[in-house]
Amino acid sequence: MNKNDPLLEVQNLKTYFNLRGSILRKHSKYVKAVDTISVTVRSQETVAVVGESGCGKTTLARTILLLTHPTAGSIMLLGREGVKSKEFYRNVQMVFQDPDSSLDPTMKIRDIIAEPLKGLSNLTQKEIESRVLKSLEEVALNSDVLDRVPRQLSGGQKQRINIARAIVTEPKLVILDEPTSALDASVQAQILNLLLDLQTQHGLSYLIITHNIAVAEYLSDRIYVMYAGRIVEQGPTEVVIRKPRHPYTIALLASAPIPDPKRKNLLNVEIVGEPPSSINPPSGCRFHPRCPYSEEICSIKEPDLDPLSQDRFVACHFVNKTA
C-alpha cells in the first residue's frame, strides 16, 4: 500500500440513539450523536477530529470501530466493507482516554498486551511471547513490568501499555480517543513523541479524537471540526489553524489558551453560550444561536459542507464573511 492511498473511508455515517424507546410511543426521540459524517484517513496519515464534549466525536470513533452499531452509512477499510471480523480488528485498534479504566485491574501486563493476539491470530504461545516483548520495547518500557498489574504502574506507563496492546497486532490504523488528556503535561509530551516515533517506524495511520487543539495541531496532517454531530469544517491542519473559516472553528481556536502572556487571546473571546444538546439541536445551522454572522436563512436551512478549495470544506452560508 502506498502512502496517501485511502485506508479508511467513512461515507455518510449516522449513529442515532433511541431515547426512551418504547413500543407504545409512536414518535420516539433520537440523539443524533453522529449525523451524516464522512471521514477519510489515508495511508500513513494522521487525521484529527476536534470538538467539545457532547459533539459526538467519541461516538464517531466507536462507530468506526463497530463497537456501536451504525444507523446508516458505510465504513470501508482497505477497500472492503467493515464487518466485525478478525481481519478487521487486526488492522484497526484503539487507545482509549482513561488509562485506568481501559486496563483490566486483575490481569498481568503480559496478558493484557497478549490478549488481542490470542483472539485474532493463530500464533503459538512462543510467538505471542516474543511479539509482546517487541511491543513493550517499542513503547520504551522494561520487561520487568510484565508480571505487574496495572495499579503498580504510573499514569504514563499505563498509557504506554494501552499503546503497546494496540500495536501488538501490527494494525494499519490506530484510533486514539483523547490519548493524553488524563496525563500531566510532562508525561503528555513523552506520549506524543512516542506516537510520532511509532508512526514513522510502522507506517501507521492515526485517527485522533481530541478536544485539545494544540495536540491536534501538533500531530495531525488533516483536521475535521465537529459541532453537534456534524462536521462544520475540514482541511489540511496548517491551513485550518492559520485561517479558520467556519465561525465555530474561529471561536474554538480563539478560546484555546496560548501559553504566551503577551498574546492575551482568552480575555478577548467573544463567543457566548454553550454547545447545544444533541436531542434537540437548533434548526438550520446548529451553530446559528451562537454565531456572530447569523442571518434568517441560518435558522431555516442547514448549510452543506461545500468545497472551498481542493481538500478544504466549510459548512456555512456566509463563508465569504470570514474571508
Partner: protein, 334 residues
C-alpha cells in the same frame, strides 16, 4: 520575612507553610515550607502537575484539611493581621466563605442537588448578613440580591435560573452559580481550584474572562490553582510554579514566560505543543513526578533535571531572588 509592611500590603501572606499527611505507607510531605503573598485585586496562579501540593495549599489556607489524614500543619497564614492557623474550628468558620471563599473543579459536587440555585445563593447571603450584623435581612432584599448576583456572573434570564435545580443547568452555568455564591459573601480572596478543568474550551474562556473582570468589579483577589500553564499565562498577574510540595519559581507573568529561570519551568514550557510536528519535536521532561513520601535533603528536581550538578545532590536550594520580584529555587542562578 519582615512583618508590618508586607502584612498590611498583602491580602494574604503564607509563611513557611508545611503540611504532612499520614498514609498507610508512611508520611507524605505534601507541602514543604511554602511562602507566598497575595496582593489586593490581583490574580495569582499556582501552577503544577498532579501531586505537587497545589490543592493542599489552597485547602490548608482556609483550614479545610481534615485531621487525620493530615498530621502536621506548621507555618503561618496571615490574613488581616490574624494567623489563621492559630484559630480554632469555630473561629475559622467566620473567615471561611465570608472573608476567603473557595470554588472547586466539579461544580456539580459543590452544589446541593435538592435545593434550587436561588435558595443556595440566598443561604450564602443570609450567612454573610448574620455574621456582619447578627440579624437577618428582609426576604425581599435578599431576593433582589440573588438576581443581582446572578446578573453579575452574566447569567441570562436570572429570574428563571434562580428557580432551577443544579441538574437542570450546564457545566458552565453551574460554575457561574458557584462563583455567584462565593462572591455574594463579598470575600477579599477567592481561591479557585481548577475552576475550568471540567469545562469545554469555549466555556472555559468565558468563565476565565468573567473571573478576571469580576476581580475589579467586586474588589477581590483570586488565587487560581491550575495544572495549565497556558491558562495561567492568559489570566494571571503573578505565577508560582510548584514541584514536589515546594514553590520552585515565582514571578510576574510576563517575566516568568519570557525568562523562565528554573529548569522545571523551562521543561514544562517545552512540553506544551505549539505548532506542528513538522516544525519542532517536543522536549519532554524525563522521568516521572516525584514521590512525596521520600524526605530528601537535595533538590527535588535533581533526578529529572538536565542541568544537574554535584551541588544539587548535597543540599536543597532555597527560593532566592533572580531579579526584582522574580525568585527561583535553583543553584544555577547563583
Amino acid at each position: 520575612m519582615k512583618e508590618g509592611s508586607i502584612l498590611t500590603e498583602n491580602v494574604l501572606t503564607v509563611e513557611n507553610l508545611s503540611i504532612d499527611y499520614e498514609s498507610n505507607r508512611g508520611p507524605v510531605h505534601a507541602l514543604d515550607s511554602v511562602s507566598i503573598g497575595i496582593q489586593p485585586r490581583s490574580l495569582t496562579a499556582i501552577v503544577g502537575e498532579s501531586g505537587c501540593g497545589k490543592t493542599s495549599l489552597g485547602l490548608g489556607v482556609i483550614g479545610l484539611l481534615p485531621m487525620p489524614p493530615v498530621k502536621n500543619i506548621t507555618g503561618k497564614v496571615w490574613y488581616k493581621k490574624v494567623n489563621l492557623l492559630d484559630l480554632d474550628k469555630e473561629e475559622i468558620r467566620r473567615y471561611r466563605g465570608t472573608e476567603i471563599a473557595m470554588i472547586f473543579q466539579e461544580p456539580i459536587t459543590s452544589l446541593n442537588p435538592v435545593y434550587k440555585v436561588g435558595q443556595q445563593i440566598e443561604e450564602a447571603i443570609a450567612i454573610r448578613d448574620s455574621r456582619a450584623t447578627h440579624k437577618n435581612t428582609d426576604a425581599n432584599d435578599r431576593r433582589s440580591e440573588i438576581i443581582e448576583s446572578l446578573n453579575r456572573v452574566r447569567i441570562p434570564d436570572a429570574e428563571n435560573v434562580a428557580n432551577r435545580y443544579p441538574f437542570e443547568l450546564s457545566g458552565g452555568m453551574r460554575q457561574r452559580i458557584m462563583i455567584a455564591m462565593a462572591l455574594a459573601q463579598k470575600p477579599s480572596l477567592l481561591i479557585a481550584d481548577e475552576p475550568t478543568t471540567a469545562l469545554d474550551v469555549t466555556t472555559q474562556a468565558q468563565v476565565l474572562k468573567l473571573m478576571r473582570n469580576l476581580m475589579n468589579e467586586v474588589n477581590t483577589s483570586i488565587l487560581l490553582i491550575t495544572h495549565d500553564l497556558a491558562v495561567a499565562s492568559q489570566v494571571a498577574d503573578k505565577v508560582a510554579v510548584m514541584y514536589g510540595g515546594q514553590i520552585v519559581e515565582e514571578a510576574e507573568v510576563n517575566e516568568l514566560f519570557s525568562a523562565p529561570s528554573h529548569p522545571y519551568t523551562q521543561g514544562l514550557l517545552a512540553c506544551i505543543p505549539t505548532g506542528s510536528k513538522a516544525k519542532a519535536r517536543l522536549k519532554p521532561i524525563q522521568g516521572n513526578v516525584l514521590d512525596l513520601k521520600q524526605t530528601v535533603n537535595y533538590c527535588k528536581f535533581a533526578p529529572r533535571c538536565p542541568h544537574v550538578m554535584d551541588k544539587c545532590w548535597e543540599s536543597k536550594p532555597d527560593l532566592r531572588t533572580v531579579e526584582g520580584e522574580h525568585k527561583a529555587a535553583c543553584y544555577l542562578n547563583e
